[in-house]
């Protein structure tokens, strides 16, 4: 028997409102395509391009706990900030992030990445140096490629030492689009 939509969303809202979830997620429509956005009780924990919810929820459950539920209300603040960002009206995100399940070095690099200013770029080597391991440019490249929270942790602002875009977890086209967006807004 099909569960009425209102009943379904009422349950999802209640589950989030009562704080019973380890992770709430939903799909957000953006100019770079649909994004799966997930938040834990500590903050934003995942943004995924080309989302495959089945696989994503498995991964989220492994790291943050099994009570993972699609609950749109809980991610409304994130959607709002993303909308403002894509409209060129937001340069910094006011969202706590949850980097549980990542190694200490990965967290250090991602935190450093969060400080790269809007509309500017840096290089893998420079980011490695600022994270305390100047020779780990290649390792930093891997961390960028697996960045759990792209856009908000702006790995699109990291380029090769010659200025070439090099690569992007979400595809080079998206990297270019994000850089163009920021350049146009600056």
């Amino acid at each position: 028997m099909t569960v009425p939509t209102t009943l379904d969303s009422r349950f999802r809202d209640a589950a989030a409102a009562e704080g019973l979830l380890d992770v709430s997620y939903d799909i957000a429509d953006t100019p770079v395509g649909p994004l799966l956005v997930a938040v834990s009780d500590r903050g934003l924990c995942r943004i995924s391009f080309d989302p495959e919810p089945e696989r994503e929820t498995e991964q989220l459950a492994r790291i943050f706990g099994v009570r993972v539920l699609r609950a749109s209300r809980a991610i409304d603040p994130v959607k709002r900030e993303l909308d403002e960002y894509f409209a060129g009206r937001r340069r910094e995100f006011d969202l706590p992030v949850d980097l549980r399940g990542r190694s200490e070095f990965t967290r250090a690099v991602l935190e450093e990445l969060g400080r790269v200013p809007y509309g500017e770029v840096t290089t893998y080597g420079a980011l490695a140096a600022r994270s305390g391991r100047p020779r780990a440019a290649r390792g930093v490249g891997t961390i960028m490629n697996r960045n759990p929270i792209p856009i908000v942790l702006p790995c699109h602002r990291v380029v090769g030492s010659t200025g070439s875009l090099v690569g992007y977890g979400g595809g080079l086209e998206r990297k270019r689009l994000l850089l163009d967006l920021e350049e146009a807004a600056v």
Partner: protein
């Protein structure tokens, strides 16, 4: 036995919400089933991270749904005056006794016995909850009952 991992709640919910809703509609009627539906899955959510494994999740959530339905039914029924006056617990539901007795049965038999005798479900509904055939549900119930008799003898 092979450990069955607990799926993300979303998958569990998507898989069982339809059957649970239908079950509640059968027990309570459409209107009251809607309230009971939310309560059932909120209760499931509260217990979900304490589960040891992912086996018989359907039977588990059917048990919760049935209990919610029993609670709902009780809320609306006035206490029988005579039992209240005598301090008798005339409304004590059968499942409370049974669950205690059946605690040591193998899981599938326990679920079958509790759903059959505690909640008065038909074998078709039990089969549904256990993801098995009606024959298998009948068999699990009767072998559970035999085991209980041996234990009580």
């Amino acid at each position: 036995m092979e450990a069955v991992t607990i799926p993300p709640f979303e998958r569990f919910y998507e898989e069982h919400r339809g059957a649970v809703f239908a079950h509640l509609v059968r027990l309570l009627g459409r209107q009251r089933a809607e309230d009971a539906f939310q309560e059932t899955f909120l209760r499931a959510l509260r217990g979900y991270d304490n589960l040891d494994h992912g086996r018989y999740l359907k039977a588990w959530v059917f048990t919760i749904a049935t209990r919610v339905a029993v609670d709902e039914g009780r809320k609306r029924r006035p206490e029988p005056a005579i039992t209240a006056e005598l301090g008798m617990d005339g409304e004590r539901p059968a499942y409370a006794e049974l669950e205690h007795l059946a605690a040591e049965l193998p899981e599938k038999e326990r679920a079958a016995v509790v759903l059959r005798y505690g909640y008065d479900l038909g074998y078709d509904q039990i089969a549904d909850a256990l993801d098995s055939s009606e024959d298998a549900a009948r068999q699990a119930t009767s072998s559970g009952v035999r085991r209980l008799r041996r234990r009580l003898a």
